[in-house]
Symmetry: C2
DNA sequence: ATTTTTAAGTTAGTTTGCTAAGTAAATTGT
DNA sequence: ACAATTTACTTAGCAAACTAACTTAAAAAT
């Protein structure tokens, strides 16, 4: 990493010693999410897989044949997002969208060989990145972060904070 | 919160008992960030302040007169993003962009009275939301999450993971 | 059996962020 | 003092997400 990036890293870190008590955690979570996403994006780009597509591939590798709606729910995105992503993935030859059992409405999603083959290439990348990200954190700390993030999500839902 | 939301909450939580070891943390961080952002957005909307504008306001409340570039760095966003947000905020009468000291290049950003007045209304909202989010987590756990998130950001920068 | 309701997919338009490339002012080097 | 470089802002265009509203198929109710 060059001097420019060291500088960027330092800036983003210094940033967090500073003021703004009122929503420090929210911004910190957001920054971490951005850095994580960006990192994965950079690595996936070598395989011409976008970050958006990755989210669907990782679900499909575990369970093909879901409908678009079911996929939406599994992935945690809204349907129009899913729709757009899947159309693009179909155009790139990663998946097929098929009607089934005489039902002319539901579309079931299947991987192509090409899409399926990416699994063995991309999973190690994600695993390695994950490992790098939490390097230096103890098992205990990792568990607490996991539980803590879940708690935040749950708290906000329970408080009716999210629509 | 209605039944529909309970359902949504449960789905998002069940989601995290499931497979996908390879980047569970990354997705969890991302989901938490989305829920946090969404929650704040909903609350800010009552004041016609968008989430994007909030990020700048909170910095400006602590230090007016920064240039656009300096603001970008403080907020942690790229300059074009800053530019667009500030133009919109100027149009809404929240800030002014002014040349200074005979320098025809740098633009310094100042709050209008309207922008300044929002501070007392919005800061409590953010504080309250933050409190709700981490409800049930001990001081110790909060500290670990804070350190852990910082560590993730730092690790990824150090690994050259981010461009 | 027909109507009504619900569900799945789609389209349109918005928001928030990005990168890459352009322009013009200010600074530095000769 | 002038040329070259760097810096600050701007423009253009793209990506990933969203909400709201539409269409049509399937399921439920009368």
């Amino acid at each position: 990493m060059g001097r420019r990036d060291d500088h960027a890293a330092q800036r983003i870190l210094e940033h967090w010693q500073s003021e703004f008590p009122e929503d420090r955690l929210a911004h910190l979570v957001r920054d971490a999410a951005r850095v994580l996403a960006k990192s994965l994006q950079v690595r996936l780009a070598e395989y011409s897989v976008s970050f958006g597509h990755w989210s669907f591939l990782r679900v499909l590798w575990y369970s093909e044949g879901l409908t678009q709606r079911e996929l939406s729910e599994q992935v945690g995105l809204m349907e129009p997002t899913t729709f757009t992503a899947l159309k693009a993935m179909e155009a790139k030859g990663l998946i097929e969208r098929r009607h089934q059992d005489g039902n002319r409405k539901n579309l079931h999603i299947y991987l192509t060989d090409k899409g399926r083959a990416l699994k063995d290439e991309l999973i190690p990348i994600a695993e390695e990145l994950n490992e790098v990200a939490v390097r230096g954190l103890s098992e205990e700390e990792r568990r607490i972060m996991h539980r803590g993030l879940l708690a935040i999500i749950q708290n906000l839902f329970e408080a009716g904070a999210v629509s």
